[in-house]
């Protein structure tokens, strides 16, 4: 209909500004009507974050009117449940978002006795997540400290600006009375890396300059210069305080190892140490809990109505993720399903069967909460060593499977064919959901200096977020945990370099071209994640952001980890 077309009365000023995925429109004169192709999304709304097809604009308007009328007629309560009970998905897609709400208010007439409610309405059982184990609500307010002045400071000498690195895909910002912490929801490509600057003292920038210069020297194999700079960094780092000092120290050590070709402590060696470190990291800051929480929520939703469920965990470690899920399953309406868990992990140095021990503890919990439980542990040096045949899969009619991977997939990227093999196995498993949590940063670019820059920003942010944590023992261990990642990233190459983090958009491409489709996380998961964060440091600084149906945990506006969920895309 003609009414749907947009009449531009003047030249378009900046209509395709950041955030839009469409190209710049041509300028339209005063009297021209813009003929918009039926399939295209309205560009102006697109820039503002809403996807509405131009051809559907009138219909969307109609739905808005309908909702408004219904809201006007409904009692206060009738309206409120749209806000509290309904799970919202993808509010950017106005058509479907509005439709869902209309369906809530006006369920279709053809509902049989048992369940007239829209399947999206959740019972508020999900509060059960807060009743168990590690996720028990901490009474009172967590200790709240302002984050320290974070040093990435101005250089008053001639070397005022950091040079942009060779690749156009990354850049460096020279901060002044400001330090650098990256953040924000990343919906654009790598070339527009979001940035945060934080106030700091003056010495920080000299330090950053030295680090960057050193990395550059290493990249161009100017080892004499690199060596000199590494020593300088050592002195400068000592003069710093807080997060900056620690980050600089770890990066400096990693650079030194690279320069002197000292192989870093092998990643494979001591898993009990790794596990211990991870436990401390788990306690100190919300990242792991967020990962577990959001992944569990997606798994729980995918398991709805299933009588027998099976979780295959690629990242078993101490099994910290599972008590909460098991408790949620135990409290499920209609009773718990029978729960099978397959835990996969690397071999322990002392050859102890730690996976078995973990399984025993979980079995005890299962018994206490009356959930039928089965467990199997698998030791594998790499996930790529797995075959579907080892996993004792049962027919999908009888058992619903979820595959879970927290901070593991990126390790496969250093091995040719690694990730493809694992994806192949996952597809054979035919899971109802594949939950994945990864670091939100590109530390796997081909150019060393770019990786260095990205990771410097990333870990600076991460360390800064830890500054507010109360316990010093946990904090130190967390820093060591992260320090090992930094070391691997900077000092190693080839198959030894396992910390090959990539961003959501990179992973999305991979998943998309491997036969997976996204399974969106909804407002329920968002809300619970937000509530969880409030328990850490009063929630100061941490934010949950939504991005294309995935959830990101950010420190201020810089996303640090992303939880995404995937399912097999329709075959044929």
């Amino acid at each position: 209909m003609k009414r749907d077309l947009h009449q531009f009365q003047g030249p378009n000023h900046g209509t395709s500004i950041a955030g839009s995925s469409t190209s710049s429109p041509a300028v339209f004169g005063k009297d021209k009507m813009m003929m918009v192709k039926e399939e295209e999304d309205d560009e102006l709304l697109g820039v503002l974050g809403y996807k509405v097809r131009s051809s559907e604009m009138a219909e969307v308007a109609l739905k808005l009117e309908q909702l408004e009328t219904m809201m006007g007629n409904a009692q206060e309560d009738g309206l409120a449940h749209l806000a509290t009970d309904t799970v919202h998905y993808n509010p950017a897609e106005l058509y479907s978002w509005l439709d869902n709400m209309l369906t809530e208010l006006n369920p279709p007439a053809a509902t049989t006795g048992s369940n007239a409610l829209n399947p999206e309405i959740n019972n508020n059982n999900n509060n059960s997540f807060f009743t168990g184990g590690d996720l028990k609500a901490i009474p009172g307010n967590a200790v709240c400290r302002r984050s320290n002045q974070f040093a990435f400071a101005v250089d008053s000498s001639s070397n005022k600006r950091l040079k942009p690195s060779s690749s156009p895909d990354s850049m460096v910002t020279s901060p002044s009375p400001a330090g650098v912490i990256g953040t924000t929801v990343t919906t654009v490509t790598e070339s527009t890396r979001p940035l945060i600057l934080v106030d700091s003292q003056d010495n920080g920038v000299r330090l950053v300059h030295a680090l960057m210069a050193c990395a550059e020297a290493v990249q161009s194999s100017n080892l004499t210069l690199a060596e000199a700079l590494v020593k300088q960094i050592g002195f400068l780092a000592v003069s710093q305080a807080g997060a900056m000092r620690k980050v600089a120290t770890y990066f400096a050590e990693a650079l030194a190892r690279r320069i002197y070709r000292l192989s870093p402590p092998q990643t494979q060696i001591d898993h009990s140490l790794s596990d211990t470190l991870q436990m401390h990291f788990y306690e100190t800051c919300p990242y792991l809990k967020f990962a577990h929480f959001t992944a569990n929520q997606a798994i729980l939703e995918a398991f709805e109505g299933k009588k027998r469920v099976h979780v295959i965990d690629f990242s078993m470690n101490q099994g910290l993720q599972w008590p909460a899920l098991m408790q949620a399953l135990a409290l499920r309406e209609g009773g718990p399903p029978s729960f099978r868990l397959t835990g996969i992990g690397p071999p322990a140095a002392d050859n102890s069967d730690h996976l078995h021990e973990v399984g025993c503890k979980l079995a005890q919990l299962a018994e206490a909460i009356h959930v039928e439980f089965e467990y199997r542990g698998f030791v594998a040096n790499s996930l790529a060593d797995l075959d579907a045949s080892m996993l004792e899969l049962r027919p999908s009619e009888t058992e619903a499977v979820a595959v879970n991977s927290v901070f593991e997939l990126h390790k496969l990227l250093g091995r040719t064919g690694g990730i493809e093999k694992v994806f192949g196995v996952v597809k054979q498993i035919k899971p109802v959901i594949f939950t994945v949590v990864e670091q939100e940063s590109n530390h796997n670019g081909p150019v060393f200096l770019d990786r260095f820059t990205e990771s410097l920003h990333y870990y600076s942010t991460l360390f800064d977020s830890l500054e507010g944590a109360p316990s010093s023992q946990d904090k130190v261990m967390s820093e060591v945990y992260l320090g090992k990642q930094i070391c691997n990233l900077v000092a190693c190459e080839g198959p030894d370099r396992v910390e090959r983090h990539e961003t959501l958009s990179q992973w999305s491409n991979r998943f998309g071209s491997s036969g997976f489709a996204p399974a969106h996380l909804g407002s329920n998961a968002f809300k619970q994640a937000s509530t969880l964060l409030a328990l850490f440091n009063g929630g100061e600084g941490y934010r949950v952001e939504k991005n294309n149906g995935c959830l990101m945990l950010s420190w201020h506006t810089r996303p640090l980890i992303t939880t995404s969920a995937w399912k097999l895309s329709a075959v044929h």
Binding site: D4, Q7, Q9, G10, N12, H13, G14, I17, A18, G19, S24, D42, L44, L45, V47, L48, G49, Y50, V52, M57, V60, A61, E65, L67, T69, M71, G72, A83, H88, P91, A92, L94, R146, N148, Q149, D155, S156, K160, P164, M171, T173, S174, P175, S176, P177, T183, T184, V185, V188, T192, P194, L195, I196, L197, V198, D199, S523, F526, K527, H556
Partner: protein, 360 residues
């Protein structure tokens, strides 16, 4: 809530007045906001954050603008800074924070307070991020958008305190200076609640001797206990209701206060007189279909009466939020006036109180 029958007529008329996609945008906000406000005065913040469309900053220029976020670790205040892209492509992605914006030209810096009735939106909300970018390219300014604390979690005077901290921070940046005398040329700007914040920060600046060159108030949020003609006439007709205005004031003002509190009603019975003080010149933009207009016009009068320089841009057929999309004449008119307002620094004397009336 207005009656169903009355609604139908109003919705149709409202739809005729604005382009369809604008209508969809603002109606969508209206719907979402209604879901979020609870009758007991509390606010569904989680759902609000979930529904809000946010965008990242970009250190590499897009369409001639780049941006980055700044966190002041002593005040925990987050701001997003928007700058025009450097002409030299080799400088893309870098910001030299030890150099002024220019040593010869004056580059106005707009401290922008986003709207949302003190409750909604953030500096990184897509609607405001986009608006700030347009300000940079169209009006030739640098924009510092302030992520102030919102109600009901943070009531008066938090937003004003954050605004004041932002002003102090901006004034002390070397890299925001310009002109031959190397100083920071600051304007305060905001829409809806942001306009209210701009006014209050300007008052404090005046009291404490901090120089602000001008205020830009885009359908600023003011009110009072009395019900004005425009409120009665336009209630529920163009996206906004008196009831929702009341809710937001209850959420922002200290508990137990009424709308004659000076934060809401600056020139009302409890207001502070600006007689004889050096208050910055103002550009006040009023949308002719905004039910708050009588309060905004009273504000303009209040400034005039105490001898202050105020330009009124009255856009007769404009609704609230007309500036979110550049698909109407009001938008372009606003940008033109804004540009003139911030670049008139070299002109010595503006004629006092020269109202600009535009019927569109």
């Amino acid at each position: 809530m207005t009656m169903a029958g009355g609604n139908e007529v109003n919705l149709n008329e409202c739809k005729r007045i604005v382009p369809l996609n604008t209508w969809v945008l603002i109606s969508n906000f209206k719907l979402a906001y209604t879901l979020l406000r609870r009758p007991d005065g509390s606010f569904n913040r989680h759902l609000a954050e979930f529904l809000d469309r946010k965008v990242p900053s970009n250190s590499f220029p897009l369409d001639g603008v780049f941006s980055f976020d700044h966190l002041d670790s002593t005040t925990n205040l987050l701001t997003r800074i928007y700058l025009p892209a450097p002409l030299d492509p080799s400088r893309h992605g870098t910001v030299d924070l030890t150099e002024p914006l220019s040593t010869t030209e004056i580059v106005p810096v707009l401290i922008f307070f986003h709207g949302g009735s003190f409750t909604h939106s953030s500096a990184n909300s897509a609607i405001y991020d986009t608006f700030c970018r347009r300000l940079v390219t169209i009006c030739g300014v640098v924009v510092v958008s302030v992520d102030y604390r919102r109600s009901p979690e943070h009531r008066y005077p938090c937003a004003y305190d954050d605004g004041w901290n932002a002003l102090k921070w901006v004034k002390s940046r070397i890299w925001l200076r310009s002109g031959k005398d190397s100083s920071v040329y600051v304007y305060l700007a905001g829409d809806s609640s942001g306009g209210n914040i701009a006014h209050n920060v300007a008052v404090r600046a005046t009291n404490e001797g901090v120089k602000v060159l001008g205020n830009i108030l885009l359908h600023p949020m003011f009110g009072g206990v009395e019900r004005t003609q425009s409120e009665k006439r336009l209630d529920g007709k163009y996206f906004v209701t008196v009831q929702d205005r009341d809710w937001y004031w209850r959420a922002y003002l200290p508990e137990g206060e009424d709308r004659d509190h000076p934060a809401c009603n600056p020139f009302g019975p409890r207001g502070q007189s600006l007689e004889g003080v050096n208050f910055p010149k103002s550009l006040v933009v009023v949308a002719g279909l905004d039910l708050v207009q009588d309060w905004q016009l009273a504000y303009v009068d209040g400034l005039k009466k105490t001898g202050h320089d105020v330009n009124l841009l009255y856009l007769k057929q404009a609704t609230i939020g007309f500036y979110f999309l550049p698909n109407n004449d009001h938008f372009h008119c606003l940008m033109d006036e804004l540009k003139k307002f911030v670049h008139s620094i070299e002109e010595c004397s503006q004629s006092k109180s020269s109202p600009i009336l535009l019927s569109l």
